[in-house]
C-alpha cells in the first residue's frame, strides 16, 4: 500500500521544546500520544490494584480484607477506571501516534484541541479517584451507576458524574480531531479504500463516540439534577422511571463496548498481515463489517436489561438483533484466519498477542451470543458468567490488542527493539494467568455465584481461589510488561526503519524512532 514517491530524509526536523513545557503545552501528536499511553497505563495499574484487592477478598469465603461498603466501591471504581481511564485513553494514544503517520499527515488537524483533550483527563481522573476520600466514599452502585442507588449516594457520586462529563468532553473533542484528520489530511493518493484498517476502525469508532458520549452526558446530567435540584427523572416516588436510566445508559453503553473493541480489531488487522506476510484477506469486507457492527451496536442495547422488565416482543427483538451482530464479527474472525492461511508466519510477540486475541476474543464473542439468548440470560444475569464474558472481550480482546500494538510499534516509537524473549514471556504468562483467572468464572456463574458480593457460599470456594491466584499472576505479569517497555525506551538493539519485513503501511517508511516532525511534505501514495 505504501509505495512512496518522496525523499523522506529531507522532511525531518527534530527540533522540539524541552522540559516540562514540552508536555504541558504539547501540540505534537507523538508527545500527546505518549502522554495518553502513560496516563492509561497508570490508570490500568490503579484499576488493577482495585481488582487485586477484590480478588484478595474473594480468595476465600468470609470477610477478610475490606468491608462490604469498600468492596462495592472497589468493584464500581475498577470498572469506571478501566473503561474510561485505561482502555479508552490507551486507544486514543495509539490513534495520536499512528493515524497521522499512517495517512501521511504532519500532525492531527486541531493540535491545540488535542492538547486540551488530553489534559482534561488528568483533573477528571483525580476527581474520580479522590472520591474514595470524601464522606460516603466512592460510587458503590456498580460502574453502570443505576438509580436509585446512584441518587442516594454521597458526594463521591457527584464527583464521579463530573469526572465522566469531563472525560466525555475529552472523548468528543478527540473524536472530532480524528474524523477531521482522517477525512482532510490524507496524503495525495491515499483514497479511503487505501487507508490502513487501523485508521478505518478509528474513523468509525470516532463517529460512534460522537454519537454515544452525549447520550451518557444526558443521562448523568439528569442524575445530577435528580440528586441536587429536586427533579424526578429517575425517582419512581416522584413519577420518574429508574428503568429509563438503564435504557439511556445502555444506549450509550453498548456502542461503548464497540468503541473499546473496534480499534483493537484495527490493531490486529495491522499485525496479522505483517507476520503472515500476506495482504489482509477481504480488506473491503473488513471495512464493511466494521461499519455494520457500528450500526448494529446502536440497536441492541436492551440485551443488558432482559431482567429489568420488558415485554416479550422487546426481549425477542433485542435477542435477534444481538445474535445477528455476531455475523459481521464472525466475518472478521474468518478474514483474520484466512489471512494467516498458508502465510509465511513467524511468531514474534505482537503476532502472539494477535493470535491470542483471536482465540480468546472468539470465546468472549461466543459467550456473548449465549448471554443474548433471553432464557439463558435470565439465569446467568448478574452472575460471574457475565463477568467472565466481558473480561474475555475487554481483557483478552481490547487489552491483548493494546499489548500487541505496543510491541508492534515500540521500535518505531523508541528507535530500539524490545527484548523479544521477555516479550514472549509476557505473552505466555498473560495467556496462562488470564485464563486461570477468568475461565473458571464461567463455572462460578453457571453454578449461580452472583457478581458484586464480598462473601460467598462454601461451594464456590475452590474456583474463587483459583481465580484469585490467576488474577494475581496476571497483575504481576504486567510489571514485566512495564519493565520490557522501560528497557526498550532506555536502549537496546537499534531498530531499522522497518523492523518487520511484512509491514507495508506508511509509518515504516520513516526512520526509527519516528522524527519529531514527520511528513511535513506529504508523501505520494501510488
Amino acid at each position: 500500500m505504501a509505495a512512496v514517491d518522496h525523499d523522506i530524509a529531507h522532511a525531518h526536523d527534530d527540533h522540539h521544546p524541552t522540559g516540562l513545557m514540552r508536555w504541558i503545552g504539547a501540540t505534537n501528536h507523538k508527545d500527546i500520544g505518549t502522554m495518553y499511553l502513560w496516563f492509561s497505563f497508570i490508570m490500568f495499574l490503579t484499576g488493577g490494584v482495585m481488582a487485586l484487592t477484590i480478588r484478595a477478598e474473594l480468595f476465600q469465603p468470609g470477610i477478610q480484607i475490606v468491608n462490604p461498603e469498600l468492596f462495592n466501591q472497589l468493584t464500581t471504581m475498577h470498572g469506571l477506571v478501566m473503561v474510561f481511564g485505561a482502555i479508552m485513553p490507551a486507544f486514543v494514544g495509539f490513534a495520536n501516534w499512528q493515524i497521522p503517520m499512517m495517512i501521511g499527515a504532519p500532525d492531527m488537524a486541531f493540535a491545540r484541541m488535542n492538547n486540551w483533550s488530553f489534559w482534561l483527563l488528568v483533573p477528571a481522573a483525580l476527581l474520580l479517584i479522590s472520591s474514595f476520600f470524601v464522606p460516603g466514599g466512592a460510587p458503590a452502585g456498580g460502574w453502570t451507576i443505576y438509580p436509585p442507588l446512584s441518587v442516594q449516594m454521597g458526594m463521591g457520586m457527584d464527583m464521579a458524574i463530573f469526572a465522566l462529563h469531563i472525560m466525555g468532553a475529552a472523548s468528543i473533542m478527540g473524536s472530532i480531531n480524528i474524523i477531521t484528520t482522517v477525512l482532510n489530511m490524507r496524503a495525495p493518493g491515499m483514497t479511503l479504500m487505501k487507508m490502513p484498517l487501523f485508521v478505518w476502525t478509528w474513523l468509525i469508532t470516532a463517529y460512534l463516540l460522537v454519537l454515544a458520549m452525549p447520550v451518557l452526558a444526558g443521562a448523568i446530567t439528569m442524575l445530577l439534577t435528580d440528586r441536587n435540584f429536586g427533579t424526578n427523572f429517575f425517582n419512581a416516588a416522584g413519577g420518574g422511571d429508574p428503568v429509563m436510566f438503564q435504557h439511556i445508559f445502555w444506549f450509550f453503553g453498548h456502542p461503548e463496548v464497540y468503541i473499546m473493541i473496534l480499534p483493537a480489531f484495527g490493531i490486529v488487522s495491522e499485525i496479522i498481515p505483517t507476520f503472515a506476510r500476506k495482504p489482509l484477506f477481504g480488506y473491503s469486507s473488513m471495512v464493511y463489517a466494521t461499519a455494520s457492527i457500528a450500526i448494529l451496536s446502536c440497536i441492541v442495547w436492551a440485551h443488558h436489561m432482559f431482567t429489568a422488565g420488558m415485554p416479550a416482543a422487546g426481549q425477542l427483538f433485542f435477542m435477534y438483533a444481538t445474535m445477528l451482530i455476531a455475523v459481521p464479527t464472525g466475518v472478521k474472525v474468518f478474514n483474520w484466519t484466512a489471512t494467516m492461511w498458508r502465510g509465511s508466519m513467524t511468531f514474534e510477540t505482537p503476532m502472539l498477542f494477535a493470535i491470542g486475541f483471536i482465540f480468546l476474543f472468539t470465546i468472549g464473542g461466543f459467550s456473548g451470543v449465549i448471554c443474548a439468548i433471553v432464557p439463558i440470560d435470565i439465569q446467568v444475569q448478574d452472575t460471574y458468567y457475565v463477568i467472565a464474558h466481558f473480561h474475555y472481550v475487554l481483557v483478552s480482546g481490547a487489552l491483548f490488542a493494546l499489548f500487541g500494538g505496543t510491541y508492534y510499534w515500540l521500535p518505531k516509537w523508541t528507535g530500539h527493539m524490545y527484548d523479544e524473549t521477555l516479550g514472549k514471556w509476557h505473552f505466555w504468562l498473560s495467556m496462562f494467568f488470564f485464563n486461570l483467572a477468568f475461565f473458571v468464572q464461567h463455572f462460578l456463574g453457571l453454578a449461580g455465584m452472583p457478581r458484586r458480593v464480598p462473601d460467598y457460599a462454601l461451594q464456590f470456594a475452590d474456583f474463587n481461589m483459583i481465580s484469585s491466584i490467576g488474577a494475581f499472576g496476571f497483575g504481576l505479569t504486567q510489571l514485566l510488561f512495564l519493565y520490557v517497555v522501560l528497557k526498550c525506551i532506555r536502549g537496546g538493539e537499534k531498530a531499522p526503519a522497518s523492523p518487520w519485513e511484512g509491514a507495508k503501511t506508511l509509518e515504516w517508511t520513516l526512520p526509527s524512532p519516528a522524527p519529531y516532525h514527520s511528513f511535513e511534505t506529504p508523501p505520494v501514495v501510488k
Binding site: M193, S284, A291, S292, I295, I299, A313, Y320, V331
Partner: protein, 69 residues
C-alpha cells in the same frame, strides 16, 4: 429518454440496495466493490445505509410480531 432515465435510476437503486445488504453482511466481491466505488456517491451509500438500517429494524419487528402473535 425519460423512460431510459427511469430505468437507470431503478438499476442504481438496486445497486445501492446490493451494496448496503452486502455491507451489513460484511462481505463484498472485489469487482462489485470497484463498480460501487466508481459509480455510487457517498451520499447515496449513506442514505441507503440509513434506509437499510430502518428496514432491518422493521423486518425484525415484523418477525417478532409474527412469533408472538
Amino acid at each position: 429518454m425519460k423512460e431510459k432515465k427511469a430505468k437507470l435510476d431503478g438499476g442504481k437503486l438496486l445497486q445501492i440496495s446490493g451494496a448496503v445488504f452486502w455491507a451489513f453482511f460484511g462481505v463484498r466481491k472485489q469487482s462489485d466493490l470497484e463498480l460501487d466505488a466508481s459509480t455510487l456517491t457517498p451520499a447515496q451509500v449513506i442514505i441507503g445505509g440509513i434506509v437499510g438500517a430502518a428496514l432491518f429494524v422493521g423486518s425484525l419487528m415484523l418477525l417478532v410480531s409474527l412469533v408472538t402473535s
